[in-house]
Amino acid sequence: MFLYLFMDKKDTFIKAINKNIGLIFKVSSIYTHNNEDRNDLSQEIIYQLWKSFDSFQQKSSLSTWMYRVAMNVAIHNLKMTNRKVSTIPLDEQFINFQDIDNSEIEKKWELLRRHIESLNLLDKGIIILYLDNKSHEEIAHIIGISKSNVGTKLSRIKEKLKKQILNS
């Protein structure tokens, strides 16, 4: 019975990860500077999601919960990567994202990343959720600021990005 429940939990988790692997890739890419760090962070996010999967109570959507965990792990990881002296051996990298075939999209993605990189950590978190079409309410819930504050900050971030785009 226990084994059955465990297998069921594992299957549900794997389905959830496969459905949202793009989310993990995007958050990991925004908070890191190279592919190796991105893969490390993705692993860490999946590991933390698995560890806390029981605590997901379906009060919010799965992707909202995943964003919250992923972004918290990304901030925690920042403390480590800044001081990293040796990297994890390749055979311990279980997640290895393949290159994107479409070079046009890859170019645009790199450009997007570069623009977001210039934002501070708070603005980064807000814009990620905005780009994923989260409502102001959901952004406020994940970030932990008021809904009105989300609106104010978003217009300021958009303004900043527009200026950056024009100048680039």
């Binding site: 594992k10 794997i14 919250r68 925690h76 403390k79 501070n120 958009k158 785009i165």
Partner: protein
């Protein structure tokens, strides 16, 4: 590229990754078995090595303490030992702060605040450590001359003058570079904290 293009690219890249990447139970099993913490342990290696050198030096001075014949040298010896213990202790304490586990139930803003406060603390402790290296260098030069100087007073004086000058020039450039870096980080972190508390 407009902001709407950003949204499209965001969606598109996600779809592409989801199409290509297949996360399966095997990967999850391997990940669960692997200890991710080992990666974090590697990060503290420079601090651990430096601490061993410092504590080793403190023990060595302790064993040679009987060679310090005047009250002044004894005072210098004790001060050097204390600094050799205090400096790595501060360093290890600041690194230990980084090891705090993740609380995923916190909001992003709360995690950011905690991160900013820890980062400020870390930078300030590192600055304190470098500042304390100045008296340590002076004390160490005097002790080295006393414990290893078997030459004439003139030769010892030349050694001390050269050692002081060279050591302080290196330390001065190093600390200026580090202070500039840490001051920049502290300023950025303060701005972030102000924004979070606004």
């Amino acid at each position: 590229m407009e902001l709407d293009d950003f949204k499209n690219t965001w969606d598109e890249i996600g779809k592409q990754v989801e199409e290509k990447q297949n996360f399966n139970p095997k990967i999850l099993n391997k990940m669960s078995k692997s200890k991710f913490n080992s990666k974090l342990q590697k990060i503290a290696i420079p601090e651990i090595i430096a601490s061993i050198i410092c504590v080793g030096s403190a023990i060595y001075i302790g064993f040679q303490f009987n060679l310090l014949d005047t009250s002044l040298f004894k005072f210098i010896g004790v001060s050097t030992i204390l600094l050799f213990i205090l400096l790595p202790a501060i360093s290890l304490f600041s690194v230990q702060q980084l090891y705090k586990s993740i609380d995923i139930n916190k909001s992003y803003a709360e995690t950011l605040k905690e991160f900013a406060v820890q980062k400020m603390k870390f930078c300030k402790l590192q600055k304190l450590n470098i500042t304390m290296s100045y008296p340590l260098l002076a004390l160490l030069m005097i002790l080295v001359t006393k414990l290893f100087g078997k030459h004439t007073n003139d030769e010892n004086a030349y050694f001390m003058i050269f050692g002081f000058c060279f050591g302080y020039v290196v330390l001065l450039f190093f600390s200026k570079w580090v202070f500039k870096k840490y001051n920049g980080i502290i300023q950025q972190t303060e701005d972030l904290l102000n924004e979070l508390t606004a």
